[in-house]
């Protein structure tokens, strides 16, 4: 058995094992060991096959196909049943239609279609495997600590920890399968499995809101799955192939673009792009680790991963243009809406959608520069966002709230935790950090491909991004000293993964030239032929690295100054009426009044109500334009 197969199947075994163990202490050990093993396996596989890549072909493919078909039928039956039970018939219909479609294809049309390689491991898969494996296992370790607390504070929810852990392992299995499969049928199976996992994890608490949101997520993702299934059937019948690698080297003619467009729709639903974004926002009711894993670091990346794979077919075509525009609009609108949110997880959700929009836009352009940016964005976003989700979860432990407004006391509660959070936020938008480097290259790519509208949208979108991140950061550094918070200890189980994440954020910024040299350039050379180079000049890279070093060194170099230069501390200026504790002032009749400092949310400008409807209409129009273009046979 190949190591890659072991890597894929190991989480499945772990999932079953964890599901069966009911004792907390034992299960925690199993989860930790399995998570660790998954991480090691990931690193091993990546090291082993990184240089040359590998493509595997399975002799017993038919057996595997049969097992997959069988499981698919089971899943479909389950979904149809719960759909009927909860009166969400749309879910049942989607599941029934697509499974019938796939089964029909499987048993009547598939004969004679030969698959050369079922699994392909190249540099792009390596990146995805690393993200899924490393971040996934870190999140698992974190979850052990998190769930201990979760049920202490939420006694109203039924405790189903073994179910929760087992779902996460199952999800990792699906995710490994998804990024490694070259066989579209297998990929589709994993695709559906991730939808199911996300449904189960969102509905974990079983509150009416959670159930409702989980069904919305399922419906939208199954809709995408339907598009995926139709694309497979279309490709299978017209081109007699089921391989992604064969599809992507075809000429982008009309007949190719139709299934590509369908696959793009599937990718857009999974990556929560407008108008399909509502499920990701609803998904924030889930416990934080699942948000981190599914809704920021890995699952939503499956969609953009598919788009990056399809990019050669998108470059310069009408479908590519539509996708680019849709991504740009999503980026802009969601970064605006994020301004009006104060719930940390909501902000993270909107920012996730918005950043995925940027990746989608890059993939839609499909030039070598833009793909360079897209893959780098994918890497940096996964690390930083997952760090932010994890810290948000821990902050909720510490101060009993995940509202950004309440985080002004975090510096007093746990300096380390707020430090990690600041690193995460900085990673999302500040200059020498990764996201900005890739945004910069993305901008260059848009200009070079003469997409001036996208450039302008990106310019305005970046400015709004800056606004909501900085005001969050402002709350973190604001040094308020209220005394009404819950004191809570910072679990070592939580801190270790968070610390590793924070180190990864910084490290990935230092090593991005290496990532470019050994991952991006070789991968892109495979697509565009030799002559691919890093889109940034070497002098710029050096200056970036100098800036990053300055950011690391400067705060430390201030410590001796603090030590030697003690200054007189006076009360904050409140027109002379400060009571002396910086928290209250004397109001009328000499009454003490609390000072309340709020960030700006500007609902009247940037509220959801104002923007969501019209932006969804706009994005639907864009998709319809894409459909019309294809119907009209316009491919350029």
């Amino acid at each position: 058995m190949n190591t890659i197969s072991i890597l894929v199947l190991f989480p499945l075994l772990a999932s079953i094992a964890v599901f069966l163990v009911r004792k907390d202490a034992v299960r925690n050990i199993i989860v930790r060991v399995c998570a660790f093993t998954t991480g090691i396996l990931t690193l091993f596989v990546v090291c082993r096959y990184f240089k040359d890549g590998i493509s595997l072909s399975f002799a017993n493919r038919n057996t595997i196909d049969m097992i997959i078909a069988f499981v698919e039928v089971l899943i479909a039956a389950y979904i149809i049943l719960i759909g009927i039970k909860n009166k969400k018939y749309i879910v049942s219909i989607f599941a029934a239609v697509q499974t019938t479609l796939i089964l029909w294809f499987e048993f009547t049309q598939k004969h004679g279609i030969d698959v050369q390689s079922d699994i392909v491991f190249d540099r792009l898969s390596a990146v995805m495997v690393l993200i899924v494996g490393c971040i996934g296992s870190l999140i698992l370790i974190y979850t052990v600590g998190y769930m201990k607390w979760y049920h202490v504070h939420h006694e109203e929810y039924k405790e189903r920890k073994s179910f929760f852990f087992s779902e996460i392992f199952l999800f990792l299995f699906a995710m490994f399968g998804l990024v490694l499969s070259n066989n579209l049928l297998w990929m589709y199976f994993c695709w559906e499995l991730t939808s199911l996992c996300s449904y189960l994890l969102i509905g974990y608490t079983k509150t009416p809101e959670a159930v409702n949101n989980s069904f919305r997520a399922l419906a939208i993702n199954l809709g995408g799955g339907l598009a995926f299934a139709s694309a497979i059937v279309f490709i299978g019948m017209n081109f007699k192939t089921l391989e992604l690698s064969v599809l992507t080297v075809l000429k982008p003619e009309l007949m190719v673009l139709i299934p590509v467009f369908l696959l793009c729709i599937a990718a857009l639903t999974k990556s929560a792009q407008m108008p399909f974004s509502s499920w990701l926002l609803g998904a924030m009711v889930a416990p934080t680790p699942s948000s981190a894993l599914l809704h920021s670091a890995t699952m939503v990346k499956a969609g953009v991963y598919l788009l990056i794979r399809l990019a050669p077919l998108l470059a310069g075509t009408s479908v590519g243009k539509v996708i680019t525009l849709l991504g740009a609009v999503t980026f802009f609108v969601n970064s605006i809406i994020a301004i009006s949110k104060s719930d940390a997880k909501k902000i993270l959700a909107y920012s996730t959608i918005s950043n995925l929009g940027l990746i989608v836009a890059c993939a839609g352009i499909g030039s070598q520069e833009s793909l360079w940016a897209a893959i780098l964005l994918l890497i940096f976003h996964s690390i930083s966002k997952s760090l932010l989700f994890l810290t948000a979860g821990s902050v909720e432990h510490q101060i009993g709230s995940r509202n950004v407004e309440d985080m002004d006391i975090l510096m007093q509660v746990s300096r380390r935790l707020s430090g990690y959070m600041i690193v995460g936020i900085a990673g999302m938008f500040l200059a020498p950090f990764g996201m900005l480097i890739s945004k910069w290259v993305a901008m260059k790519a848009f200009i070079d491909s003469n997409n001036i509208l996208t450039v302008i949208i990106l310019g305005y979108g970046s400015a709004t991004t800056l606004f909501y991140w900085t005001k969050w950061m402002g709350k973190l550094v604001s040094n308020a000293n209220r005394k009404d918070h819950i004191k809570h200890t910072f679990h070592i189980d939580e801190e270790i993964p968070i610390f590793i994440h924070a180190v990864l954020v910084v490290l990935s910024c230092f090593t991005f030239p290496l990532i470019s040299e050994y991952v991006l350039v070789p991968y892109l050379s495979g697509l565009f032929g030799p002559g691919v180079s890093m889109p940034l000049g070497i002098s710029d890279v050096n200056i970036m690295l100098i800036m990053l070093s300055m950011l690391l060194i400067l705060p430390i170099s201030f410590i001796p100054i603090y030590k030697s230069d003690r200054r007189r501390i006076v009360p904050v200026y409140m027109a002379g009426e400060n009571t002396g504790d910086n928290e209250s002032f004397y109001g009328a009749l000499h009454a003490k009044r609390k000072v309340k400092l709020h960030n700006w949310y500007m609902e009247s400008f940037f509220g959801v109500k104002k923007l969501a409807f019209w932006s969804n209409v706009l994005s639907i129009v864009i998709i319809l334009v894409g459909v019309l273009l294809l119907i009209g046979g316009i491919t350029k």
């Binding site: 006076v570 009360p571 200026y573 027109a575 002379g576 009426e577 400060n578 004397y586 000499h590």
Partner: protein
């Protein structure tokens, strides 16, 4: 070199008063007197100010305010009491809640007489205060 003389920044506070001196203080900023010639700026913020310019008397309500504003000023600093109310409580000194002049709660360096004090007198007072400010600056540096 000592630069405190060249750039005196003023915080103006008005206690219990008829606002007469208040208006005269602002008159100093108008084109006719133009105290900005001497680098004077009306900052409105104790943390930036060098000179605390008080008009009007001190009462129960504002004593803590004046104390706090004085505390919030960076050294070296001087206090100028403008007008008779700031000096002694003036016409208000008999009121039930008035404590008297500014010097009841914080040390005053320069008293500017008048009811209301004329702008020329106020400018004179500020210039005098600058001399004291310079002395304090020298003293502070010797100590350091």
């Amino acid at each position: 070199m000592n630069f405190s003389k060249k750039s005196p920044w003023i915080l103006h506070y008005d206690g219990s008063s008829c606002n007469g001196c208040d208006i005269e203080v602002l008159a100093c900023l108008t084109p006719l007197y133009d105290v900005e010639r001497f680098g004077v700026i009306n900052t409105g913020n104790p943390k930036h100010a060098d000179i605390l310019l008080i008009t009007g008397s001190i009462n129960e309500q504002n004593k803590s305010v004046v104390k706090q504003l004085y505390e919030q000023m960076a050294n070296p600093k001087v206090v100028v009491a403008v007008g008779i109310c700031a000096a002694t409580g003036g016409i208000f000194s008999e009121c039930y809640n008035v404590l008297g002049g500014v010097d009841r709660i914080i040390p005053v360096d320069v008293y500017v007489p008048g009811c209301a004090a004329r702008p020329e007198a106020i400018i004179d007072g500020v210039v005098k205060a600058l001399g004291i400010l310079e002395e304090r600056q020298k003293f502070a540096r010797k100590k350091a």
